[in-house]
Amino acid sequence: MHLRLAWRNIWRNPRRTAVIMCAVVIGVWSMILLGALMRGVAAGMIKNGIATLTGHIQVHQRGYRTDPAIENSMTTPEVVENALRKVLPNGAQWARRVRVNAIASNARHSSGVTLVGIDPATEARVSFIGKAIADGRYLKPDDPHGILVGAALLEQFETKLGRKLVLMSQDTAGEIASRAFHIVGSFRAEMQATEKRFIFVTVSAAQQMLKLPNGISEVSVLLPAGANSEDVAARLAAALPSGRYEVHTWRELLPLVTTYLQLMDGFIFIWYVVTFVAMGFGIVNTTLMAVFERIREFGLLKALGMKPGWIIREVLTESFFILIIGMLIGNLLAFACIYALSGSGIDLSAFAAGAEFAGMSRVIYPAFHGKDVVLANLVVIGLGLLVCLYPAGKAARLIPVKALAHT
């Protein structure tokens, strides 16, 4: 009876209900959609960071992270790979790499780059490079002189496919090793900096050049969806001989992304509260108006013996209905927008340099986080009912005689 009364009451003045519902709908819609977009930016950053040669977990010789030099290579990668086979969940992939700083030069230009020696087949399953070839071809397993460079580097060096590129780096003996390669393909990456920084050769070519028989610099692991990087990393560290290796997860390898993620929870919550306050003024005002309009009605109810508690309940139930319906529509609208955007995403190519500066990917796909949706709805319903206590309390404290005399 209580509910039915409240339900009928809110439709006595449909326009007022509709307007306040609009405010709730827009509020909830914007909370959820913008929350999803912010999460999408973060997801893009993580995905991009992980694909750009980071992976979920990396294993190095102890000391490599602070001093990424050739002396800090792993000379017996079999030990690490045996541990990986034991520990990794099904569906995980890993790739071994030689990774050193080098100098690339041709007749006209030279520049500092990161030389990455890869095993073409396994690397393609772990990082972006397998799907990033823009021109020419990918490396073959036996490609002693083939080299892949970024499209931006090609332009910077005023060179093209088939031309020669000389790489210089320090070898294990401390001497400067140099070797000529032929550009067999060029790749495109999300960020121009990646295209200019990384050049790829086969792992055996890199080992020969650097006099590093069988040694590698790092193992990068890509976990299947749903696996917890921290857990796997801990198990992996336990399975490896202690003291010789270091195991890092992407959270440690991409400190900027991690900080951004931590900040974002706070930002989203602040945004929710700010939107709610804007909305809250409207909710209070409308409920207050509704209460005043019905002063006589409430006076009568009280005169008939209705307890103040009941009146509070009555007003709150009406607000509850309005909030719930507004939230439902708001949620549906937001989901529809997220769904519509999830196909093509929001393309930021017009701001490519700006996106790169901010470390964002060029296309943002909204990311749906159940936690945010629940939080948004809780904020609206919780605070919404809280602020409605004020008009409800006003109605409950009416003095019947005065209220009845009110015109």
Partner: protein, 406 residues
């Protein structure tokens, strides 16, 4: 009459004004905060990287080719001395080289700087953490970033070999001693930069007196377009405009400008939605007010008030409410902003992130006419639209029906 009307129901009026004031306050503060952080970002980026303006050889920005030089920088210096808005300027030259320490070798872009001028233009001098900054008479000494020093395993006093290619294609080689090590907090910069005194650089790389950039700092960010125009005109007058170009910080760092634009646009979307939510609250209040007063309007019309006057009356009522709301909002927002402008805002746990964008520790909002007024004006516009709908609605009111409205 409008004024009295709005105080007939003070609670409702106060709540409406509260909503408007809240939105205005928030907009003033957030916009000031955004503009403040942009200014911090720009200033720290120009102080570390590029300066506000650079004079370069045409095409050097795209292809950093050692042969594209500013042949006689002193001529430009003389022109700059005559422009009062210029605060300081210096010369720089750059070349890619192999830097070797006793046991490590790296390929790095070497920059030649004029120690006296550089100290006024960039923050480099203040960033030195070990050893000392270069002094004007120094030859064959170098400053380098902390991460580079760590990678090369050197400390102040160690020796480095520099090996590159000179302007004329000859081999450029020399030995320099490490005089100081700096840390900017920007990993990219600290990992890949080394500075030599300009005379040493010019000698080693056979620059024949040329440099690659004249780096200029203006007295304020707002003066930059003026300096740029002046400089261009004077270069044209001395017939130097064919081979040289003037680039401002936006052209030197396109990523920074676009990053700012992107942030501003996303900010505007946020604010727009916020204003929309507020507008619905306000629309609702206005609508309510009119339903409540239907009888009153009926009476007014019956005694001969024209609908146009009623519309005007209502608009004046709503506008005066909005005016009170936004002026309160602007006032409180400005006070809040000024407080934080003096105190700064600390972002716990994010200093690593911010330092990569060149913002150190605290953020300072910056109150300006633009940031104080643009947000509230948007609120004014939207509330006016929100009030227009109910105000026009009463035109369709019929006196008799209205008076019998319960």
């Amino acid at each position: 009459m409008a004024w009295r009307n709005i105080w007939r129901n003070p609670r409702r009026t106060l709540l409406t004004i509260g909503a408007i004031a809240f939105a205005s306050l928030l907009l003033v503060f957030m916009l000031s905060f955004q503009f403040g952080s942009y200014e911090t970002m720009i200033n720290s980026a120009v102080k570390i990287h590029t300066g506000h303006l650079q004079v370069q050889a045409a095409g050097y920005q795209d292809k950093q080719d050692i042969r594209r030089v500013v042949p006689d920088p002193a001529v430009i210096g003389k022109i700059l001395d005559e422009i009062p808005e210029v605060q300081a300027y210096t010369y720089r030259a750059q070349a890619f080289s192999l830097i070797s320490s006793e046991d490590r070798t790296q390929g790095i872009v070497v920059t030649g700087i004029d120690p006296a001028g550089e100290a006024e233009v960039s923050k480099l001098k203040a960033l030195v953490r070990q050893g000392q900054f270069l002094s004007p008479g120094d030859t064959n000494l170098a400053l380098l970033g902390e991460l580079l020093a760590r990678n090369l395993r050197v400390n102040p006093g160690a020796e480095l070999t520099v090996l590159g290619q000179g302007r004329d294609g000859s081999i450029a080689a020399t030995i320099v001693g490490v005089k100081g090590i700096y840390r900017s907090g920007l990993d990219e910069f600290d990992r890949a930069s080394i500075h030599l005194p300009l005379p040493t650089f010019q000698e080693v790389f056979a620059m024949r007196g040329g440099v690659h950039a004249v780096v200029i700092i203006g007295k304020s960010l707002a003066a930059i377009p003026f300096i740029k125009a002046q400089l261009k005109a004077r270069l044209a007058a001395s017939n130097l405009n064919r081979s040289l170009t003037v680039l401002d910080w936006e052209e030197l760092m396109p990523g920074l400008r676009q990053g700012i634009e992107m942030d501003l646009i996303s900010g505007i979307i946020f604010y727009f939605i916020l204003i929309l939510v507020v507008a619905f609250s306000i629309l609702n209040t206005f609508l309510m007010a009119i339903f409540e007063r239907t009888r009153e309007f009926g009476v007014l019309m019956a005694i001969g008030t024209r609908p146009g006057r009623l519309t005007r009356l209502l608009l004046i009522e709503s506008l005066s409410m909005t005016a009170i709301g936004i002026s309160t909002g602007i006032l409180l927002g400005s006070l809040l902003t000024l407080y934080f402008q003096a105190q700064g805002i600390e972002f716990a746990g994010s200093s690593d992130l911010l330092s990569q964008y060149g913002i150190s520790g605290r953020m300072y909002p910056k109150l300006s006419l633009l940031s104080a007024l643009s947000g509230p004006l948007a609120v004014l516009g939207i509330t006016f639209l929100a009030a227009l709908y109910p105000a026009l609605k009463i035109r369709r009111l019929r006196p008799v029906e209205a008076m019998s409205y319960a």
